[in-house]
């Protein structure tokens, strides 16, 4: 089978990891460029698919003053790129009891008093590697609009870059985490049909039927499966 490595003639980029220069093939992600440079990553590598937040990275291109933030597994390295990974931040987190904490203006401010200090500078939004509208959800928290805060923060990968860069010392990701849980817990109440299902299982409603199926082998179950498949034509 073809095992075409990047031939020597292909372009390479100079990258600087913690200021040290390495030549890497063009077209690799920052993560693979770091690995090509000889690092076996311990901190700063996770799902390698852009959903876990382990590999947040600050980078800058030579002669450009702007500091950028991205996930190392999702952003391609560029020529003359200066790189540092930020795999950990000592961010403030409030302890709370999910069973007894009500989601109110009072409780959010009591647990996260720094919320009041937000200056609206938008640095958090600019620092988010997922381009979430962090300031917008912080504003929603300030206004007590917890549903909006939940929706705007739903894709957060908890990398911590918003808190890292916030000049007022807010911890947006941890505030939103708590609020999403409290909102989610509240939404779970009072679904009668669901409670009925749990009760039926506790009462053993399907126990005998399952025992009957357990006595059958694959061939014996096949016609029953066909029947289930055809008995309820529902949308996929």
């Amino acid at each position: 089978m073809s095992e075409k490595n990047t031939p020597a003639a292909d372009p390479t980029y100079s990258i600087y990891i913690l200021g040290k220069k390495y030549e890497v093939p063009a077209g690799l992600t920052i993560m693979k460029s770091i690995e090509y440079s000889g690092y076996q990553i311990t901190r700063g590598c996770g799902c390698r698919g852009g959903v876990c937040g382990a590999c947040s990275t600050v980078y800058r291109i030579k002669d450009d003053p702007k500091l950028n933030v991205g996930l190392a597994c999702q952003v391609n390295a560029e020529d003359e790129m200066y790189i540092v990974q930020v795999p950990y931040m000592p961010i403030y987190r409030a302890k709370y009891d999910v069973n007894t904490t009500e989601c109110t203006d009072e409780s959010v401010l009591r647990l996260y008093p720094t919320l009041k200090r937000c200056m609206g500078c938008n640095t958090c939004t600019n620092s988010c590697p997922l381009d979430l509208k962090v300031l917008d959800y912080v504003s929603a928290l300030l206004q007590g609009d917890f549903d909006t805060a939940k929706h705007l923060s739903m894709e957060c990968v908890m990398c911590g870059m918003c808190a890292n860069r916030c000049p007022a010392g807010l911890a947006p990701m941890n505030m939103a985490m708590m609020v999403r849980r409290l909102v989610g817990k509240k939404a779970h109440k009072n679904t009668a049909q669901f409670a009925e299902r749990l009760k039926n299982i506790r009462d053993g409603k399907w126990t005998a039927e399952i025992q009957q199926y357990k006595a059958l082998d694959r061939a014996g179950l096949q016609p029953i499966y066909k029947q289930f498949q055809s008995s309820n034509r529902v949308d996929v």
């Binding site: 693979k32 302890k95 049909q193």
Partner: protein, 544 residues
Amino acid sequence: MAYPASMMPSIQKANATRQARFGTMHPELTVDEKAKLLQDFHPDFNLKVKRALRVGANTGDLAPDEMANIVEAPSRLNPKDVDLDKPDYCTDILVIGSGGAGLSAAITARAAGANVLIATKLRCGDSNTIMAEGGIAAATDPADSPAIHYVDTIIGGRGTNVKELVEVLVTEAPFILDWLSALGVNFDRRADGSLFNHRPGGHSRRRSHSIMDLTGLEIMRVLSDEVRNQEIPLLEFCPALELILDDKGQCCGAVLQNLDNGKLLTVKAKVVIMATGGMGRLHPMGFPTSNHYGATADGIVMGYRAGAKLIYIESVQFHPTGTAWPEQLLGLLISEALRAQGAQVLNCEGEMFAANLETRDALAAAIIRECNSRGKGVATPAGIVGTWLDTPLIDMIHGPGTFERRFAGIYSRFMGYGINPKEEPILVYPTQHYQNGGMTINTSGETTLPNLYAAGEVSGGVHGQNRLGANSLLDIFVFGRLSGESAAKKIQSVTTGRPTLEHLNLYNETLRQAGVETETRSPMILPDYRFEKALTKITHMEAR
């Protein structure tokens, strides 16, 4: 970054043949053709890349070479370096791993009053669980029942599942949704507040519950947050290297290594719960993987060395349409729904070579054949070869806007790399997705080694030799919670003897007697992608 120039000629061929292909279908394989295709090209049938284990409780059973290589290897730990008389930590229950299974076990055991310590290789929550997009199966719909879920799961597993485990799986499922919701997981809900559900492949009812396409992320965030609220002791970047046994042959702890300073740490525990996940990063048979960086089968190695029995360790699930380009998305799953909506699979000449809706195993085999012996794959600068999934057909068939509406996530991910799947095809190749087998467990999560429990992908049997979608996200919580619960009861009656690592020496002796010669030391802990290994290669051989 759009497609590189080297791939453009093939894209132009796909574009040129699209109008002629529109409305046509590649003939489906006959039963005989399919059997031969699987036999010749499907990795699970490829006996050249599997071998019979020469040592341990499963001697004679097949395992993929990459798995056998680390199972049939001496420990990376030298028993002489460890002082077992002075444990660094003493606890009732040691949980190894912090994915969905590990954290649900820890939270449950703690709630039952046990002292729990979590040790994990990377960050708390780092796992395959966090990457789960689809959903979690449970018979919550009035038209559904645990009995129907039972039948679907057994048929999906080709009848090879351990029936008792499946019974527990389907019966506990709705309680898992209750438990997660009460912890504050924001499952998608209808306007009336009831749980929204949808129907994944192989299931007879609407049964999968999701949180947009971020199901695993949302659940892992919540569980990690709860572990911190409960202040359960947590050692991050401290993978287990080996289990500790006592002179009665019971599991009684583990040796960890702090990855930051290399120090070995011993944990004395009455019970150990192994929840280290799967094996994708071994790249079985040379495949890319949809798995997390930490999926290196450490728990299989540790458990097997200590004497735990495995089941179906030869069985690996491949998904036919993993992303092959751009490299950043390599291995990322492309849902079957795209093929169901009319996307055809094409070779480098823009020709169809298989029907869109062949089963997962047959299509994976057909793509492998096209890229290898037929030499009609599309090469990428990263070294990987793939075939086209002709996505522009979807809007041609169903009208403009369909693709963006139905596949918003895929659309935005590819657009982020300058690839517009409405106008140009996307490149796919089969990807390793799931370890079907693992350590044998009973309905309490106990392995065959006394006082060692296992939960999640590191365990085996519940899915048989083929897992149904949405059942693994369920499995980890059902058996995570059950193992935490039963371990918390078990500690009342456990008396631990003198700790020893003698089983490592014995295992080495067994390897010598079996004539195994290897430079490998295991468990692997971290995959090695340094230097040229950072460049993607697919190295698997064909079966025939």
